[in-house]
Amino acid sequence: MTLLWTDALILLLLLSSVSIAFYLHDKEHIQRPLNKIARSKVGMVSLVVLLFFLLVGLLDSIHFNANQEKNNEIISLLDYFATPLREHTEKTYSAPFATTLYSKEMIANVGTIQWDYPRLVYGGKHLVNPEKEQLPDVLLKAGFGFLMGLALFTAWMLLSAGVSYLKQGSAPKFFAMRPVMSTLFIIIVISTVLGYLSLYYHVLGTDKVGEDVFYQAIKSIRTGLVIGTLTTLIMLPMAILFGILAGFFRGWVDDVIQYLYTTLNSIPSVLLIAASVLMVQVYMANHESEFTSVIVRADIRLLFLCMILGVTSWTGLCRLLRAETLKLREMEYVQAAQALGVKQHAILLRHILPNVMHIVLISVVLDFSSLVLAEAVLSYINIGVDPTTYSWGNMINGARLEMAREPIVWWSLSAAFVFMFALVLAANLFADVVQDAFDPRSAGNESVG
């Protein structure tokens, strides 16, 4: 088992959220909004989708040394499961479900030389006559994958039904069960169908160097999650602390903080990011002995990218929070707390912070999507994640060059788009539901009795 830096941070994040959940689980006034989320169909569906992404990301975050003799190769649990996908590389572009390459080549055939589409090394290699056999074969294999998914789902249902029977039916009744079950069913079936098919075909085609696009898209989930969450984690404390302090104390504190973020804002962030990424590269080049494998180097670069993105992106939220705090500090409940002799830090924690959290939540989710996009832009000028790291940004960047090609190579771009869209949409919808549930003023949050 090898622990990379970002792995450690992800595990830390997971541990802390589990412990927070454990701490809150018997607090009655927290239970109420949580129950509301559990009742919300949209909330639960998007949560299931998010959890699925998270699961893939986590599987991809447990790294180990696969083969000691063979050149110190570190792979993740996900790589281990997807080994055939990882190793099925073709020569260059091929379309989804194709059995031949995307462009014609000279093929040396017993004695003659033909100008034709060569057959793929792995995609559909079991077919003798692709034109006739392909469609029935794909349908058959999809059907088999569907049955597998069905079986898996049924087994799981039976298991959970058995568990709840043993527990004397203690399952909560308010749970939005049916949408969750249907989402789960859809996710399981899609993954088994695609998983089974991808043993025989490239379901989303291959890219320029012949790598399976489906594999790339799955591997990019972790990168997206890391950039979204770690950057937010770095940026949040700064934005919240500075924003609230500036708004609450005003005077010279406000002046200093405003000066700081105006200055930071006036430096083009691309410049800062480029400088720091180059610095890391130079550092790694000088200390080659400490960064033995490609994946370790790529990981450090990812971590630094998150940090520098965090440092450059806190100013927007900080400004919003400062404005909101300026408004809140004049509210009568803050004055009442002052009259009651509540200390300043307690006022900040109890009266200001909870009342700006809705802004934090909304802007974090919006930032999450823009950070995934920022990664794509930075990859374009070569200061994003390491070129060897799988990321939607790198996929888009690679596909960008082929947009002008006729016929167009569309699958890399679409795959990255669909995966990114699913993640960002699920995150947005879920944040909406959470925000609604935790706002005590919104309808339907009244306690019973």
Binding site: M331, Y333, Q335, A336, L340, G341, R350, N445
Partner: protein, 545 residues
């Protein structure tokens, strides 16, 4: 009998298909009369007015057997036809003149816009008409005011502009939805006189919507009382106010604070608790690059008074006279400029940091707006306990819980309230929570900053009773800041009248209310509307239109 101008039959409005706001009401308005719809907040009176013009929000649905204007059924009119009726035949003025006027248009443009909606006049004719209208609503210096923006006018002037806009289409019916609620009492009297005189000169009907029974009694010919979406009683004004039949109307009339109630206060002298001497609170006006102080707003300008133990001093004045600033700066929520404040012999001025925090237990405050004075994300139990945690850290959690329970009981709230959020309570209940929060640290004096002005009249009476009971039990003193002289009579032992940062008259409550010396006090008292048709022989000091 004459043909009715507006007749509404079996009108019902519900929100989201289940929440009934207006429940099967019928009424008529005759040409040239003043019809008043009275009710407490949430009784559906504004929704009734909006549904006649079909200006309801999207989630509301309306059913009625007929709404007819001059025999013309409005229900059958299309939206386009209604646009020709709105403003032309029925006009509407709202409560808040600031948010009803567009801040980036001059008032001349806004009045002209309303005219051109209905009359295709040339530019110069329109200008002429704008001037006429502004003269009609008695706006001072209309020639210059035409180019002013809304923020350059006072509240009363803005309401006059709103009336001018409403009159632009020469309507047959003017709906006035709480037209004076956000105005000072002297301005209110002027606006009411204006509405009455315009009505007499144009002969239009006036539909007044109000929660203020005394005001309605001075204005209306006929009155309908609304409760929970139903009209419970409709009668001629004289009849209704002298012999109300419905128990709800009687309850409303009884809850009305009256100027008479001060006559039974005890006059026994007690040692002083709070002594304020030559107190100043100035706001600096800063200008320029280096924010130099170029002058001061003298919010509180040399005020001296004292409050006796277990008694109430009412601080009366109109908005902007500095009474709230005085209350807040006594508690050091706003820094004071100079002057001395002594509570129970301890000087408070000049205290800072931890010393000041310790003295907080002596004085507490209850704010005007029960909606913004509690943190919406804290449980009521935590809100009440906050002061105990901060000022009495030695009290352990079990005892604190017990104290919170007792406090809630004292202010008449159930124990279960502690585990709820403030928004789940009504305005009156919230004000009770605020009182419990102030009581939690066992203060000797509570500054009540207009605690009842956001509440309905029956709830207001309950809160005042609660404050009086607490005073009797615990001997707390109050500094009661208000603009409502009738409330002053109910609760105060002494009165101080404030005008432009200074106290201009001070004395016992009978003396100030019934034998006012200063001209301003006299004007203030005479502007208070009082019930016109009352069978007990009340002193009629108020304005009678």
């Amino acid at each position: 009998m004459t043909e009715p101008l507006l007749s509404v039959e079996n009108l019902s409005v519900n929100f989201n298909r289940n929440h009934v706001v207006v429940d099967n009401i019928s009424f008529v308005i005759y040409p040239g009369e003043t019809f008043a719809l009275v009710g407490e907040s949430g009784s559906g009176k504004s929704i009734t007015a909006l549904s006649v013009l079909r200006l309801l929000p999207n989630n509301a649905s309306l059913t009625a057997s007929s709404i007819s204007l001059h025999g013309d059924n409005l229900l059958k009119n299309s939206e386009l036809d209604l646009c020709k009726i709105r403003g032309r035949r029925i006009s509407l003025i709202f409560q808040d003149p600031m948010s009803s006027l567009n801040p980036v248009m001059t008032i001349g443009e806004q009045v002209a816009e309303a005219i051109q909606q209905h009359y295709p006049l040339s530019k110069s004719d329109t200008q002429q008409r704008v001037l006429e209208l502004l003269q009609q609503v008695e706006l001072p210096e209309p020639q210059e005011r035409i180019k002013s923006y809304p923020h350059q006018l006072s509240g009363g002037q803005r309401q006059r502009v709103m009336i001018a806009i409403a009159l632009a289409g020469k309507p047959d019916l003017l709906i006035a939805d709480e037209p004076t609620t956000s105005l000072d009492v002297t301005i209110q009297a002027q606006i009411l006189v204006l509405l009455k005189s315009i009505q007499q000169s144009t002969g239009m009907a006036l539909w007044l919507i109000s929660h203020d029974l005394a005001l309605v009694s001075t204005m209306a010919d006929r009155v309908a009382v609304m409760q929970h979406g139903k009209i419970v009683e409709t009668a001629q004004s004289a009849e209704l106010f002298s012999s109300a039949k419905h128990p709800y109307t009687q309850k409303l009339l009884n809850a009305l604070p009256s100027m008479q109630s001060c006559l039974d206060h005890c006059a026994e002298d007690k040692p002083p608790l709070l002594q304020v001497d030559n107190f100043h609170c100035y706001y600096p006006i800063r200008k320029g690059l280096f924010k130099r102080i170029v002058g001061y707003v003298r919010a509180v300008d040399g005020v001296s008074f004292s409050i006796q133990k277990g008694k109430t001093l009412a601080l009366v004045g109109e908005s902007g006279c500095g009474k709230t600033t005085l209350g807040k700066s006594l508690l050091n929520l706003i820094p004071s400029t100079s002057g001395s404040v002594k509570i129970d012999g301890v000087a408070l001025d000049g205290l800072e940091g931890e010393q000041l925090r310790k003295q907080r237990t002596n004085m507490q405050i209850v704010f005007q707006d029960p909606f913004s004075s509690m943190n919406p994300r804290m449980l009521v139990g935590d809100i009440v306990a906050e002061g105990i945690v901060a000022l009495h850290p030695d009290v352990n959690a079990v005892e604190r819980k017990e104290r919170v329970r007792k406090l809630l009981q004292q202010v008449g709230l159930p124990e279960a309230a502690a585990l709820r959020y403030p928004h789940e309570f009504s305005g009156g209940q919230r004000q009770r929570i605020c009182i419990a929060r102030a009581l939690a640290v066992q203060p000797k004096l509570i500054v009540c900053d207009e605690p009842t002005s956001a509440l309905d009249v029956s709830v207001q009476a309950q809160i005042i009773q609660l404050l009086k009971d607490l005073q009797k039990e615990q001997g707390i003193s109050y500094l009661f800041i208000t603009h409502d002289l009738a409330v002053v009579a109910e609760i105060a032992d002494e009165v101080a009248v404030m005008y432009q940062g200074k106290i201009i008259e001070q004395g016992s409550v009978e003396q100030v209310l019934f034998k006012p010396q200063h001209a301003y006090t006299k004007k203030l008292i005479s502007a208070v509307p009082v019930l016109k048709y009352s069978n007990d022989s009340q002193l009629k000091t108020g304005v009678v239109l």
